[in-house]
Amino acid sequence: MSLKVSMTVNGKPVTADVEPRTLLVDFIRAQLRLTGTHVGCDTAQCGACTIHMNGSAVKSCNMLVLQAQGADIVTIEGIASVDGKLHPMQEAFRDHHGLQCGFCTPGMVMSAIDLAQRHSSLTEATIRAELDGNICRCTGYHNIVKAVQAGAQAMRS
């Protein structure tokens, strides 16, 4: 059995036939071939699959694609400008060496943008607490924290 699903992904309308049990992340990766969104843990712990749905960060490994019917989805591929210029948060991650292997990075950036939008000012403690849902095994978070702080500031200015 397959069902039809429609949504907007990175500003473009998308309609597709899906198996009802398809996870949103698998739809994004395998059907839309947007492979920047990653799967790290299958249990909503690591956050590598974080995307924006209707403006909020969500973990796409823990949703069925059908739950995104009609939604406005943004993935990491939709964050930089069309001309390739990095978003201030991406730029901050590069400037502060907030990434190493790059696997958690898309989810980390999506969460960081979301938390920058939700807080008018960010202390180190707030950033560390808010990043609880994103696991990085490489960086020890030190530079991610710096990057989020700088990125959030750049987003405001």
């Binding site: 990491i76 590069r94 609880d132």
Partner: protein, 789 residues
């Protein structure tokens, strides 16, 4: 013109743009035409005889294309997975090497062991099919704990090792050590558990194999730290395929930490299966499969003793360790608790006599192999916990006892086989104490006490042996292969450069660091150099990345190739400038005739090398492309001092790391930003081992209790502090860059520093890792009860 100040500069990483925009290509991102998906049926039992496997129902399930079992592999004469390091035991006998079949042959030996593979059009269909594979097991008793494997009555895993003993191995002069202990002024003794860890790179392992019938060739995309080793082992030892017909590509790899060094069953099975069904076969681990079947780390049980004289000088050390191998020998399992462990027990000290005995045992668990640090964190833990405890027992300042015992003259031959080339342990200790404000600690402790909190401070002065390895030394110690590295520098006609390296980057930033080395040496722009790695179809050869060896071994191979390019360039330039070759100098990207104003830029020489009108054809071949192999003459010895300060809440047992200072000596540093990042990550894994992470198997059922990120505590951002780092520099004496390696240091030094701080805070002699709030709280209650009694 190139940038001459590239060495020692925190250049932003070349690889970041693609990772930040979702443009990386990890194995699971690759999608091939007619691709199928594999699901592995795994043993639900820790130890069982497989009586019968019925694939009929699975084969009839929608989308299922094939089901293969161990019987199919045996019929096809697929061999077992090899172990790359032969340890010879104390009686001169080779270690016990049980067969390690990719799919079970009549028996399963750990939960997660591979029983069958189901291949289908979609992953969900393969998984559904897996549910329909009927397996009858006769469940056998299991042993999962390292300390129980050799006990009388423990169930034996392998016929060739009925007492579960892989080897008993020893290093050092036992008689002399025993004699020194007999007359020692003071002896400090401790018993340690070095907790089993699960690596958990955030990218799960993955493999995608395709077979090309027209060419009779294979391509395997795999999340690997060393694609050439993977290919060599798979073709020559397991599948019996012609090596030149197999291309192994390790594209972007999402972290390794050791767990992606090894040749795994899944890699072999999908490669073999792709030919059977003549379609590509992809397998990507679910996280629970990573927990069950990635090689784990550590898992030692140790009794350690340090003998001291009345001045606190170390006179001897005696260590007995039992180390788990797991159910089978993984690729490098046997050398981790021996060659990479016992040889490091001198630490930074002049201890003249050391004896270490290691017993390696089989247990009904996932195999154990190298995990970040691999043997060296275990050695550092033994040494540094002993030293700190001895200082407390002898009422000596822990920094002072270290100073009294530091090695101060180099080169230094330790009693455990290594020859340290250089170091300055006083410098790293002194700087760490300053940065950590050790002098202000008593006041901070008092202030914390006023708030009802317990503060403690602990040191770890670690050393590691990196840059593995001088091949003749490795060979004499049992390595079945040399461990050199290859590099190729291909200069294009316009003077742009592509470098092919046998090292592999899975987060370390080689595309930037190696480009800095090449660009600075050639005097060209960083953007004019690209680094290619991770593809046996493009890179000549490589032993890969582990043991913090990339810059010291892989980097040196590249330097050698660059120097060959320069040497040839001088010949070409001499011809063009009508000068004697001996008069041509190369600097800042320009060939010059000494003492004249004649000069030719590098790019012009490159163009001449490829499209010459005027060229010394009789004397020199055209082209500007050089290979080099480098076999190091010694290990490198990064070292440093870490100071950790903790605060414990006695009501909850929760430990907060309030400050962590790391001062390292990595020799020359190419990119300080990248090096600092490596230290941050290593420290966090070390802190994870000390406070959070502990793999547990249920003693009775053999089930993995910590089998998901909900059960196994991964360090999160709010578990660690921002770190205070600095470096001191004593350049390595035996490689041209003076580099030592930095990838593992943090994970090596941090556990001992944290536990020294925590035992100081609690006023207890020892505490088992991970020091969870429960363990800390219980330790505090016991102390209270003892005081009350």
């Amino acid at each position: 013109m190139g940038d001459m100040n590239l060495i020692g500069t925190s250049v932003k990483r070349k690889e970041d743009y693609r990772f930040l925009t979702g443009g990386g290509t990890y194995t699971d991102d690759v999608q091939l035409d007619r691709q199928t998906y594999a699901y592995f049926v795994r043993s639900p039992h820790a130890h069982a005889t497989v009586k019968r496997i019925d694939k009929d129902k699975a084969l009839k399930a929608p989308g299922v294309i094939a089901v293969f079992t161990g019987e199919d592999l045996a019929t096809a004469k697929v061999a077992g997975l090899p172990c790359g390091w032969l340890i010879t035991d104390v009686n001169g006998q080779p270690m016990k090497e049980p067969a390690h079949p990719p799919l079970a042959q009549g028996k399963v030996r750990y939960v997660g062991d591979h029983v069958a593979v189901v291949i289908a059009d979609s992953y969900l269909q393969a998984k559904d099919g897996g549910e329909l594979v009927e397996v009858d097991y006769d469940v056998l008793p299991a042993v999962v704990n390292v300390g129980e494997a050799r006990k009388k009555g423990a169930p034996g895993l392998h016929e060739i090792a009925p007492d579960n003993t892989c080897y008993v191995w020893a290093l050092g002069d036992k008689a002399a050590v025993d004699k020194a202990f007999a007359s020692a002024h003071h002896v400090t003794q401790l018993d340690f558990v070095n907790n089993r860890l699960i690596p958990n790179a955030v990218e799960p392992r993955a493999a995608l194999a395709s077979y090309n019938r027209a060419e009779d060739s294979y391509t395997l995309y795999v999340a690997s730290q060393n694609p050439h080793v993977e290919r060599l082992l798979m073709t020559a030892f397991v599948l019996g395929l012609p090596e030149h017909k197999v291309r192994v590509i390790a594209p972007d790899v999402g972290g390794g930490f050791g767990s992606k060094i090894y040749l795994y069953a899944e890699d072999v099975v999908v490669t073999w299966a792709s030919r059977q069904i003549n379609r590509p076969v992809k397998w990507t681990a679910e996280r629970s499969e990573s927990f069950l079947s990635d090689a784990h780390g550590r898992d030692h049980l140790t009794h350690a003793e340090l003998a001291l004289d009345q001045d606190g000088k170390f006179v001897a050390m005696r260590v007995q360790t039992t180390a788990a191998m797991g159910a089978y020998l993984s690729t490098f399992a046997s050398c981790i608790p021996t060659i990479l462990y016992a040889t490091l027990l001198a630490g930074q000290y002049t201890t003249p006599l050391i004896y270490c005995e290691v017993t390696a045992v089989f247990t009904n668990t996932a195999p154990v192999d190298a995990y970040r640090g691999a043997g060296r964190p275990e050695a550092t833990y033994v040494v540094e916990r002993l030293v700190e405890t001895a200082a407390r027992e002898m009422k000596l300042d822990p920094a002072e006892i270290r100073r009294r015992n530091f090695i101060r003259e180099f080169p230094y031959q330790t009693p455990v086989a290594l020859l340290y080339d250089t170091g300055n342990y006083e410098a790293t200790l002194g700087e760490a104490m300053k940065l950590a404000d050790v002098a202000g600690f008593p006041a901070r402790k008092q202030e914390a006490a006023a708030r009802g909190k317990l503060r403690g401070l602990g040191y770890a002065a670690y050393i590691e042996a990196c840059g593995i390895a001088p091949s003749n030394v490795a060979g004499s110690l049992g390595a079945r292969a040399g461990l050199f590295e290859a590099g190729e520098v291909r200069v294009h006609p316009t003077g742009k450069v592509t470098v092919f390296t046998g090292s592999h980057s899975h987060g370390q930033g080689h595309e930037t660091t190696f480009a800095q080395v090449v660009a600075s040496r050639l005097g060209i722009a960083l953007d004019d150099v690209d680094i290619v790695h991770g593809d046996t179809g493009r890179v000549l050869f490589g032993m890969g990345t582990y043991g913090s060896r990339s810059i010291a071994v892989g980097g040196t191979a590249i330097v050698k190739a660059v120097d060959k390019v320069i040497a040839k360039g001088k010949k070409i330039a001499a011809h063009l400038m009508e000068a004697a070759e001996a008069d041509v100098e190369f600097a800042d990207g320009v060939f010059k005739v000494a003492g004249t104003d004649k000069e030719i830029p590098f790019a012009q020489v490159a163009l001449t090398a490829y499209v010459p009108h005027n060229y010394p054809l009789g004397k020199l071949e055209p082209g500007l492309n050089e290979n080099a192999f480098y076999d190091p003459t010694n290990f490198t010895f990064p070292a440093g001092t870490y100071v950790c300060e903790v605060e414990v809440d006695p009501d909850t047992g929760r430990t907060e790391i309030v400050s962590f200072t790391a001062v390292d000596d990595f020799g020359k540093i190419i990119n300080p930003m990248i090096v600092a990042g490596q230290v941050h990550g290593g420290l966090t894994q070390g802190i994870g081992q000390a406070l959070l992470e502990g793999c547990r198997y249920d003693k009775d059922s053999g089930q993995l209790v910590t089998g998901s990120m909900l059960d196994y505590c991964m360090p999160r951002a709010d578990d660690v502090p921002s770190f205070k780092l600095d470096t001191k520099e004593t350049p390595c004496t035996h490689n041209p860059l003076g580099v030592k390696g930095c990838g593992e240091a943090g994970a090596i030094g941090a556990p001992a520093a944290v536990m020294n701080a925590l035992t100081d805070a609690l006023g207890v002699r020892d505490l088992e890792m991970p020091a969870t709030p429960e363990r800390v709280w219980r330790a505090l209650q016991q102390t209270k009860m003892r005081k009350a009694a």
